[in-house]
Symmetry: C2
Subunit: 362 residues, 2 copies
Amino acid sequence: MNRCLILQSEVRTFIERCMLAVGTQPSHAACLAEVLVEGDLRGHYSHGLNRMDMYVKDVLTGICEKAGEPTVDKETVATALVNGRNLLGPVVGNFCMDLAIKKAREAGIGWVVAYGSNHFGIAAYYSMQALKEDMIGMCYTNTSPLVVPPRAKECTVGTNPISVAAPARDGDSFVLDMATSAVALGKVELHHRRGDVIPEGWGCDSQGRLSTDPAEVLSGGGLVPIGGCEITGGHKGFGLGLMVEVFCGMLAGSQYSKYIRNWKVTDRVADLGQCFVALDPANFAPGFKGRMSDLLSLHRGLEPANPETPVVAPGDPERFSIQKCRSLGGIPYDLSVVSHMNKFAKEIGVELLLPTDRPMAE
Amino acid sequence: MNRCLILQSEVRTFIERCMLAVGTQPSHAACLAEVLVEGDLRGHYSHGLNRMDMYVKDVLTGICEKAGEPTVDKETVATALVNGRNLLGPVVGNFCMDLAIKKAREAGIGWVVAYGSNHFGIAAYYSMQALKEDMIGMCYTNTSPLVVPPRAKECTVGTNPISVAAPARDGDSFVLDMATSAVALGKVELHHRRGDVIPEGWGCDSQGRLSTDPAEVLSGGGLVPIGGCEITGGHKGFGLGLMVEVFCGMLAGSQYSKYIRNWKVTDRVADLGQCFVALDPANFAPGFKGRMSDLLSLHRGLEPANPETPVVAPGDPERFSIQKCRSLGGIPYDLSVVSHMNKFAKEIGVELLLPTDRPMAE
């Protein structure tokens, strides 16, 4: 058995006590814990507890601020430019999304852009805040350069995610949350650790050639945009990555493209650019949620090519993951992650993360 | 020699006289002609003169209105819902984009959605209108179902394009204009006519399996989303296609997804949903155009993997096409297109399209 089950509340409070131990403002620690737990619940372990030590270290080294509030530099009835003041990404994200929703209530739409921000966990956490108000939410962020443009040999674009959430009936929703790279770096790393080759269309070597060797992708090469090589539309994925940069770094006046610090190198502040949008469907054709429900059920009800893999709508895999956690009564984690986190907790003198004693079937 | 050169003004006036011959309101004929010529100039022949007979027939059969004006159903300071009144797509598109720009001047952003619209040519034509005002422009439209979702066997999503344009210094710009399918249907048709196989990742057969046989894709199969199959991110392209549907059909209350009439079947009105956005960078960090210029030149200046194929930014291939037309002194067309159009012109009693006598090198 190499997995264990941990109560959601235990994960949340563990992250909080780690963050508090290094002096983070309690409300900020709570913000971060909530976003990371949501990442794990939704099955995106690469954006959850697994990354907690990065945030703790950022506060510990002072590369990220542990207290304060973002401020609004300028605004119109429907837009705002926010100074994230180098606070934790979720603090900036919540501030901006709240502001976008407030503006959408008044003007129909709120388009808020922040500079001086940091990693904020899963983008869907913010876009989904709009669902609570029966609004469409969007969220974009630029990230460290990991993607090689078509025809090039050098990483100049981040995995720059796009998230759009739209409410349907009875609490159902459409939730798109995708990197504009073909896959996340974590997937390539996983194949590398296992000694597996990667499918063609995930990454390239240092000469810009598609490669199935994860070692080549990780050392000198890079990820490729969605679409893979040029003949299958890689220039479209590249274009989408730059579109995110237009909404983020270009509007924000933050770092952008290859000027963003390298992934996992935290020798200087991140100064990420991020974009948060809320749009109220009430100002458009009546019946929005009904149409959304129909669009979702139309797709979920399609006859599948293979009966074992039903057609799913954006957000469904994450919904299944949350349901699984609910039925298990906690979040399943690899023991290696727990032992890594507890080693870290000991170093900073924090009470350990305590798994339940419920057995986990493989 | 199977190509000829036609003056841009001659193409424009030819389209106008064909549209006028069937009773189109002159200002509407002019709108359409301008968009189609722009499509050809930018090298997107599938969205130019080549499609003119479709528009003429739509007016001739009365499936599309030949006179009138779109109307605003409801609006806020930053949003509007427009009834396209089944007018020509470019008439609706120009009306909506003008309105979006007007709102962006007042509120910082204008988000305008139309129902009751028709095919409007290239999406970039509308997003680029915002460039004249130093604004970011966006344009989205839903389209007839041609794309099979991952795991499915049936076309339920259109090629649903995304266009985003952003101004840089000295008239330079970023212009993304992409279908959310891996390729356009026209590319598959072209390979079929030539008897060529298509690359894996463009389309699937009637069982939802990737296929390299264009005949299978065209008869019972369909295009696949950007990203191709699931392992290389096809679910992302599918998600983007549905995102466009959220911005268009869902907000507009128009036809959507598989309810949109089939491609080239015009037995009922199209009632397409479309979305037009203008966003003024002046309300965000100063220096937007300078950063855009840097982002573009940073990428254009990257060392290419192959010296013969330099790295390009979104919009560059179209810019090269326009430059080529300028240097040639006209737009190059296949003789087969010209003879098809002139056969059509004779049928409706219109003065023929007259190529120049300039020789065209192959």
